[in-house]
């Protein structure tokens, strides 16, 4: 528990004023950071210093700071969400870094996630994929009692494994091809495991994959990097299920 103080670290960060502007790296020093601080608190300290120095602070996405909203998105020293496992950037702590270290921070890089400013990217492509079919078509009201739909515990658990996706985009950021397969698989797989979702399973798989393809993501090479980077450890077994769902849907046309 006794956290040390990092007297000095170097932060090399991508600066880009607007989507069209040309970006560049800038290196800053940050002093007196407790290793018990979160990574984003370190950025807060840096930003405070930048503002006081009359400079523009680094724009970055963040919100809940407890690893569930999926807003934070930094590519730190070659890792989406930094050098720790099963965490988002906001859950990364400075105890993963050492005195005098240079930390390189880049935005998610993908044609489908254009940079808005500095480390903020536009992930609305994920919205469009979800809108294409990531739902069960039921209106409010008129649904049966919850207990009339029996679900095997194992199926509910597996659906929950997939549903844990926070939509942060670390999978896309990490994938060498910038593929969104893990994200799409998580959604398709969640519904495929549940009786409520089975009814529209074929339509859903086709619609979501078609939308994904349209938006400029790359293809899946099954490297498994996505599941290693995923803060919620979503397994690529769900990608196999997505493939199965999609192929059966296509072949039953």
């Amino acid at each position: 528990m006794a956290d040390q103080i990092l007297n000095k670290i170097y932060v090399k960060v991508w600066r880009q004023n607007s989507p069209k502007a040309k970006g560049r790296f800038e290196t800053y020093t940050v002093e007196n950071v407790s290793q018990g601080s979160s990574f984003l608190e370190m950025i807060d300290i840096l930003n405070d210093k930048l503002i006081l120095d009359g400079k523009d602070p680094i724009a970055f996405d963040h919100d809940c700071r407890e690893g569930i909203c999926g807003m934070c998105s930094m590519y730190i020293n070659g890792h989406a969400h930094g050098p720790d496992t099963e965490v988002t950037t906001c859950q990364l702590h400075m105890r993963k870094f050492h005195e005098g270290q240079t930390i390189v921070i880049e935005p998610w890089r993908s044609a489908a996630f254009p940079v808005i400013k500095d480390l903020m990217v536009d992930r609305s492509a994920f919205e469009k994929i979800q809108q294409a079919g990531g739902y069960v078509s039921v209106n409010t009201g008129g649904v049966p009692d919850g207990n009339t739909i029996l679900i095997r515990q194992e199926d509910a658990e597996e659906a929950m494994d997939a549903a844990a996706c926070i939509g942060c985009g670390a999978c896309v950021a990490t994938c060498k091809n910038s593929s969104a397969m893990l994200f799409v698989a998580a959604k398709v797989s969640q519904f495929a495991k549940l009786p409520q979702g089975k009814i529209e399973a074929k339509k859903r798989a086709k619609a979501m994959v078609a939308k994904m393809d349209e938006l400029g993501f790359g293809n899946c090479t099954n490297t498994g990097a996505c599941e290693m980077a995923c803060p919620k450890s979503i397994s690529i077994a769900h990608i196999a299920r997505l493939n199965r769902e999609y192929l059966t849907a296509r072949f039953s046309d």
């Binding site: 993908s110 060498k176 910038s178 993501f217 790359g218 090479t221 099954n222 490297t223 493939n243 296509r250």
Partner: protein, 226 residues
């Protein structure tokens, strides 16, 4: 159907099917080639080669095999181009999650190198046997049947250490390519799940090692023996 073959999963499906088809060919190919090392007179290998060259089923499969290669190669190019477009700006720091040599990360490069090897290999044998002929390629009679002395061609080539090196490398490259490609194909077809992923990965690595060691063993056998 055209939309299926241009969809991401459709294209990968095609890659998987052709890949698995090519693996099945390699199984037969390796088995037959290992005959080279079982019988130093060359009769066994020559018989096997003759059987393959005259068997109607194999004759039918030959163009299909070529087609499999062509599709596998063309689609890999299409997919790779697409993947490059998906990340126009690369990371400055790179990716430190997977090691640089991980086959899964290098399938296109491995594939391209295997292709290069394949061209050399075809020039060395297939072209000579089927098209141009070669002074070494005399006819022999084994068990009363007249056939090409393919064994002579092979054993002569493998006395050259440079070719041995190329063939050892070729074997390793094929092994690496398959050590990812095999399980990846099942994953893409959808024949995988939480339990089978690790099993398939083990099988893939095993097959990769068998191909790598098996294909490398043949030139090394000749190098050491002769």
């Amino acid at each position: 159907m055209s939309s299926f073959l241009s969809a991401s999963i459709g294209r990968k499906f095609l890659m998987s099917l052709t890949g698995l088809f090519l693996v099945s060919f390699l199984c037969i190919h390796l088995t037959l080639n290992l005959f080279l090392t079982f019988d130093d007179s060359g009769d066994l290998f020559n018989q096997a080669a003759h059987f393959m060259a005259t068997n109607p089923f194999i004759r039918v499969m030959e163009p299909l095999l070529a087609l499999g290669f062509v599709i596998h190669i063309i689609w890999s190019g299409l997919i790779t181009l697409d993947n490059m477009r998906a990340r126009p700006q690369k990371y400055a720091y790179g990716d430190s999650l997977l090691s640089w040599w991980a086959p899964s990360k290098n399938m296109f490069i491995l594939g391209a190198l295997v292709l290069t090897f394949l061209v050399i290999h075809i020039m060395n044998f297939w072209v000579k046997m089927k098209l141009t002929g070669d002074p070494l390629l005399t006819n022999v009679t084994v068990g009363g049947v007249e056939m090409h002395n393919a064994y002579a061609l092979v054993s002569a080539l493998f006395r050259n250490p440079l070719y041995d090196l190329i063939y050892v490398l070729g074997g390793i490259l094929v092994g690496l390519h398959i050590s990812h490609g095999f399980w990846s194909a099942f994953q893409t077809i959808g024949l995988s799940n939480q339990i089978w992923i690790s099993r398939l990965k083990t099988v893939a690595v095993t097959i990769g090692v068998v191909f790598g060691v098996g294909f490398s063993y043949i030139p090394l056998y000749f190098l050491i023996k002769f």
